[in-house]
């Protein structure tokens, strides 16, 4: 069964990019454009991994992380931060990795593979 990855990013082009990248590499990819949608999707699909943007309109990435950490069903899902902001990744303390945009796609895939195995 394919592993499920939830991509949370407000930029449609980046969401498309990550979805293509993950599906091309044998994963099922799901998308959310903001924190609220992210929580909803995560609760629904129970992903194996989440990629999280930090700077998003409305609530920002770390708030999603706090909310999912308080949910017993979501709190153990690994999170990879992918953000244009550097330094703010510390707001997501348990992130398995933190990549700065523009990221290296091989590096991302290697981290994803290692995390999901």
């Amino acid at each position: 069964m394919k592993k499920k990855i939830l991509v949370i990013d407000d930029d449609l082009n980046i969401r498309d990019y990550l979805v293509s990248l993950f599906t091309d590499n044998g994963y099922d990819a799901y998308i959310a454009g903001d924190v609220k949608e992210g929580i909803k999707e995560a609760t629904k699909i129970k992903p194996d991994l989440i990629t999280l943007d930090i700077e998003m309109p409305g609530e920002w990435g770390p708030r999603f992380y706090r909310q999912m950490s308080q949910d017993p069903e979501l709190k153990n899902i690994p999170v990879i931060v992918i953000s244009g902001l550097s330094g703010h990744q510390y707001a997501v303390v348990k992130a398995v990795a933190s990549l700065t945009k523009p990221f290296d796609r091989d590096e991302l895939l290697a981290i994803v593979k290692e995390t999901l195995n």
Binding site: D11, I14, D16, Y17, S20, L21, L85, K101, P102
Partner: protein, 497 residues
């Protein structure tokens, strides 16, 4: 040091005896028995004392007179036959320190030589004092020249903070203000400045430094780096403090350019990173689409790459546009539209802080030539500062900003902004348009009003400010409705709005 004595005596035996007697008293003695021999001695060196019989030849008198006239410090003791003493006194008068009759009495000779020796010692001391005084004058002249010509503002203040001395550069820029308070001259204040370095130096005797903004006698403002040094009296007490200020206005202006550029690039970097990632995504989609023969993915990727390339191009052009000097881009627009745009930008902020906006924009004001981007940013800045002034005021319950637009007889559009916020003291009011001056602490960069004011100036407009601390401020901004003949170059990057 042994004193040099010339003994001029026509009687060789007598001279030899006197020489022996005098040498025992630690004088170096040279003898001359004729006028010519005496002249040779005088040509070689002028002695401290001359012990002479002036009547050994006819021209000896004139020879001695000449020597005494040219070398007044030489002490002359005249001896001669007793019947000639009166004549000798008539000739030499007070030029000689003593007169002795022949045969010489040893005690009288001792007294005469002692008197001459004392006079020589005194003369030597006077000579040394004169030399030292001359050296002192030279040093004083040098120090005075250094003080005067050093290329920074130097003033000396007493314990009442009154200026007691100022160098030329200071006088050129701040006037000859000896006797006035330094804070009045430097800052046009009525009381001592906060953190005054002069006061600190009076207190601890150490040198202190601060960065200040001062106002010249012509109203020009300078950024200066100030250092102080104590001046002590013989007891070691600090009686005055010297204040040296270097004008760093140009450095600050350069920093302004760099900071503005930095602020702009910082705010854009997040967007740039997102675009580059999306561009990466487009390239990935294109590559994988081609590899898979997925035409729809290729088409989608191609569209995405094009959009991203356009966006990046636009942003780079924008950076270049902001970073470079440029002419004002005049456009004709209605005053109503300009004022309306400004108000719509400010309304949200005013509402957030509970500030009531009283707006009056008549419809019949016609059109105005402005660079809309700069002018709107400038007016918004003035209004947002008014909102900040209201938001900072904890004394009054209700706050209001009036924004009235009118046209005067000089065909100028007049924007009047009146707020009932915290108002400003004189110092803040004087410096409000100065680069990097901010009364908002960490909330302000000191750039906003500096740029806003320049924009008005470059449109050949004027800004007048009235303010009273605790009561509020009034800004009167007048801008020509028609574009001036020459177009100004905006020579700073835009920051903030």
């Amino acid at each position: 040091m042994a004193k040099q004595l010339y003994l001029i005596d026509g009687d060789g035996n007598h001279a030899a005896a006197v020489k022996t007697y005098i040498e025992r008293r630690q004088y170096r003695v040279s003898c001359a028995g004729t006028r010519d021999a005496a002249s040779l001695l005088f040509d070689a060196k002028i002695p401290d004392i001359i012990l002479a019989d002036p009547f050994i030849s006819e021209d000896m008198v004139s020879c001695l007179e000449t020597v005494k006239k040219e070398h007044p410090f030489v002490q002359m003791v005249i001896f001669t036959q007793k019947d000639m003493l009166n004549t000798a006194m008539d000739v030499f008068g007070s030029s000689a320190i003593h007169y002795l009759g022949l045969p010489l009495n040893s005690k009288a000779l001792d007294l005469a030589l002692n008197a001459a020796g004392t006079a020589v010692s005194q003369n030597r001391r006077i000579e040394r004092y004169t030399e030292r005084l001359s050296e002192l004058h030279g040093t004083q002249d040098l120090l005075s020249q250094l003080f005067e010509e050093v290329p920074c503002y130097i003033s000396v203040q007493d314990k009442n903070f009154r200026i007691t001395a100022a160098n030329r550069k200071f006088r050129d820029h701040f006037g000859n203000q000896v006797g006035e308070h330094c804070f009045e001259i430097y800052k046009h204040r009525t009381s001592l400045c906060n953190g005054c370095p002069v006061m600190e130096t009076f207190t601890d005797g150490e040198s202190h430094s601060t960065e200040e903004i001062v106002t010249s006698q012509f109203g020009k403002q300078y950024n200066v780096l100030t250092r102080t040094a104590p001046i002590r009296n013989e007891m070691g007490e600090i009686t005055q403090v010297m204040e040296m200020s270097t004008n760093i206005t140009q450095i600050r202006q350069l920093q302004d350019h760099l900071v503005s550029l930095g602020l702009m690039l910082g705010s854009m970097s997040h967007g740039v990173k997102g675009m580059l990632t999306a561009l990466d995504g487009g390239i990935y989609q294109l590559e994988t689409g081609l590899a898979k023969g997925d035409e729809s993915r290729v088409m989608k990727a191609s569209g995405q790459i094009k959009i991203m390339a356009d966006k990046i191009k636009g942003m780079v052009l924008e950076i270049l546009y902001y970073a470079k000097s440029r002419e004002l881009q005049y456009e004709e627009m209605t005053v109503e539209s300009l004022a309306g745009n400004v108000i719509s930008t400010v309304t949200a902020k005013a509402e957030k802080h509970g500030v009531l906006l009283d707006i009056s924009i008549p419809e019949n004001l016609g059109k105005i030539d402005v660079d809309p981007k700069w002018m709107e940013a400038s007016l918004v800045n003035f209004l947002e500062n008014a909102v900040d002034a209201c938001a900072s005021d904890r004394e009054k319950k209700d706050h209001q900003i009036s924004f009235h637009v009118s046209k005067n007889s000089k065909n100028q559009i007049c924007f009047t902004i009146i707020d009932n916020g915290i108002g400003m003291d004189i110092e803040t009011k004087n410096k409000m348009f100065t680069l990097f001056f901010s009364s908002k602490g960490s909330q302000g960069t000191g750039l906003g009003l500096f740029i806003a004011h320049r924009v008005i100036k470059y449109h050949e407009g004027t800004v007048e400010v009235e303010s009273e601390q605790g009561k509020g401020s009034r800004f009167f901004i007048n801008i020509p409705a028609r574009k001036p003949d020459s177009t100004k170059i905006i020579d700073f990057p835009m920051a903030g709005h």
